[in-house]
């Protein structure tokens, strides 16, 4: 499951050569319990070694989102889905606004912050975790590694990225997705795990629908590594069919999800804004139902997405969002600064001065005070004041 790959970079061309030449033939059976490392075949041991180096790189690169409470929450869902793999399937959250999740060959599962802002409840999050866990349990990385096709895929990744071990690890993990059949298998097994754990199976469809909406909003073509996979729409249809035949109600876990992820979802929105992913912010916050899951300050972020994008009609939308935000929180400073910037650009100097002055009154220690004071000087000059 991935919209964009996370960046991994691992040293050692030698390791790549070892992996590429060290194939072991034989059928790959799904795991029934967490395996002992000493019982793994040589090629699988090497995959785990690579994955562990990947784990270290991610941690060393400061990519982990620092919230033990959130990590524990995700881990508790994973343990509920795969109780017999407790301790082996380890979940971490990546501090990135990209909507993504992936599994490494050793059972490390990574969910990007951006995924959390797109989902609505625990059952949808469980769908993601169940899918990624299925890649590990069914040893898809080993299957991929042992197939001729995977060697070619790895070579393609290597050629495209020009960074050898990024490609190798990516090609045998779910960073770029597995083959079409393996993704289908992970969907099916994930669904079985989801419902067996007592979650509402019908929510699985919603998970992939959100992924599709994100792709459309960000105008992302299905990435090259998705080209052999089931199309998202096809997956939505298949989950829809599964849900039709499913009689159980199951748990949705909306309130628990919203509470456990509240801070992270807001951080994801802020990160989206910070990296210019305005369409993604608008996609989530323009939906009144989803907006209700955020504090009123989220309306400021919605306004910011429109203001910073600056497209046709965006100015009006931004003013509307800031206005709504100030209705809920009249003492919240940031919308005043944003309104001041827009008014200054429109040469509405008196209004701009009012907004900037209010901003500095409400937040005298604002980090961007020097910018605002410059604007106030410029306004005085424009108004011909001494």
């Amino acid at each position: 499951m991935s919209v964009r790959a996370c960046s991994l970079s691992l040293p050692g061309v030698l390791l790549l050569l070892a992996v590429l030449t060290g194939c072991t033939a034989g059928p790959v059976r799904p795991l029934t319990e967490a395996p002992q490392r000493s019982n793994l075949a040589n090629d699988e041991t090497r995959l785990w070694d690579m994955a562990e180096e990947g784990d270290e790189e991610i941690a060393k690169g400061g990519q982990i989102y620092r919230s033990e409470a959130l990590r524990s929450y995700l881990q508790s869902i994973m343990d509920r889905l795969y109780p017999e793999f407790r301790g082996r399937l380890q979940v971490q959250v990546i501090d990135s606004p990209v909507v993504n999740a992936f599994a490494l060959p050793n059972g490390s599962i990574y969910v990007h912050l951006g995924m959390l802002s797109q989902l609505e409840n625990e059952a949808q999050l469980a769908t993601v975790l169940a899918h990624e866990g299925a890649h590990f349990v069914n040893r898809h990385s080993l299957q991929q590694r042992r197939s001729t096709k995977s060697s070619l895929a790895a070579a393609n990744v290597v050629a495209l990225l020009g960074v050898p071990l990024v490609g190798e690890l990516a090609a045998v993990s779910s960073i770029y997705g597995y083959s079409r059949d393996m993704e289908r298998e992970a969907d099916r097994i994930g669904w079985e795990r989801l419902t067996a754990a007592g979650y509402a199976g019908r929510e699985a469809e919603g998970t992939f629908r959100h992924l599709l909406e994100e792709l459309k909003a960000m105008e992302i073509e299905e990435p090259v590594f998705f080209s052999s996979h089931p199309k998202l729409q096809e997956r939505i249809d298949s989950f829809h069919e599964l849900a039709e035949g499913y009689r159980g109600n199951g748990e949705i876990g909306e309130a628990r999800y919203l509470e456990a992820t509240a801070e992270a979802r807001l951080d994801a929105i802020e990160a989206d804004l910070g990296s210019g992913r305005f369409a993604s912010v608008i996609l989530v916050l323009e939906n009144e139902e989803r907006l209700a899951h955020y504090p009123p300050s989220a309306l400021f972020y919605l306004g910011e997405a429109y203001r910073r994008r600056g497209g046709e009609g965006d100015r009006d939308q931004a003013v509307k969002a800031y206005g709504r935000c100030l209705e809920y929180r009249p003492g919240f400073a940031p919308p005043y600064r944003a309104l001041g910037l827009m008014q200054l650009k429109q040469e509405e100097y008196a209004l701009a001065r009012e907004s900037f002055t209010r901003y500095l009154e409400l937040d005298p220690g604002a980090a961007d005070r020097a910018y605002v004071e410059n604007y106030l000087k410029r306004i005085s000059k424009e108004l011909d004041e001494p």
């Binding site: 060393k60 910070g274 210019g276 961007d368």
Partner: protein, 192 residues
């Protein structure tokens, strides 16, 4: 040529992907000055350092370094407003306010895998070549865990967006050539 990221910079300097429409020239500076072929800008730079200039229809750039760009560099760039920020949902415009310019430059950096987890050390208004602009100072860790600092001055005018960047590892290099970069910024003049 899009605005150069450090990654693209190293690729370009490798010269393997240069297309025919880009003019590039690498020289050791005999005199303390660097000028791009289209005359878009000129600036002081230490004699003896190596400068690579790149010019094409919509942009021009000069990379100056003593020890080589993979270690440290000063990068001076001008780019037409259109498509200056490829990959972002907005472009630069001549009437952009400094705050907007800073937001956009930071968004561009956060979109780059190398600087996705950057820390802002300073974000303040600045005057460059007599124009109101911004100063952004960031630090981040590269994929080997080494702390890198980047200082960027930028402004917009009708001629495009101008960025003056200095990047070096904190260890040994950043402080060593900090004043060289500041001198380059103070001497920067546009061709217009």
């Amino acid at each position: 040529m899009k605005r150069l990221s450090p990654l693209l910079l190293s690729v370009l300097l490798g010269a393997s992907l240069l297309s025919g429409c880009v003019t590039t020239k690498t020289t050791r500076l005999d005199a303390p000055e660097v000028t791009v072929a289209d005359g878009a800008f000129t600036a002081w730079a230490p004699a003896g350092w190596v400068a690579t200039t790149l010019t094409e229809a919509v942009s021009s750039a000069a990379v100056v370094s003593r020890d080589g760009p993979p270690i440290h560099y000063i990068l001076l760039q001008r780019h037409d407003h259109q498509k200056a920020f490829s990959g972002l949902e907005r472009d630069s415009t001549p009437d952009m306010l400094p705050t907007e310019l800073a937001e956009t430059l930071l968004a561009e950096m956060r979109k780059d895998d190398e600087t996705e987890h950057l820390e802002v050390v300073e974000n303040s208004p600045a005057t460059i070549a007599g124009r109101a602009g911004v100063l952004l100072h960031i630090r981040f860790r590269n994929d080997k865990g080494l702390e890198i600092q980047r200082r960027v001055y930028a402004f917009v005018d009708s001629g495009g967006i101008y960025t003056l960047s200095y990047q070096a590892p904190t260890l040994h290099y950043f402080d060593r050539d900090f004043e060289v970069f500041e001198h380059t910024v103070r001497s920067f003049r546009t061709g217009a």
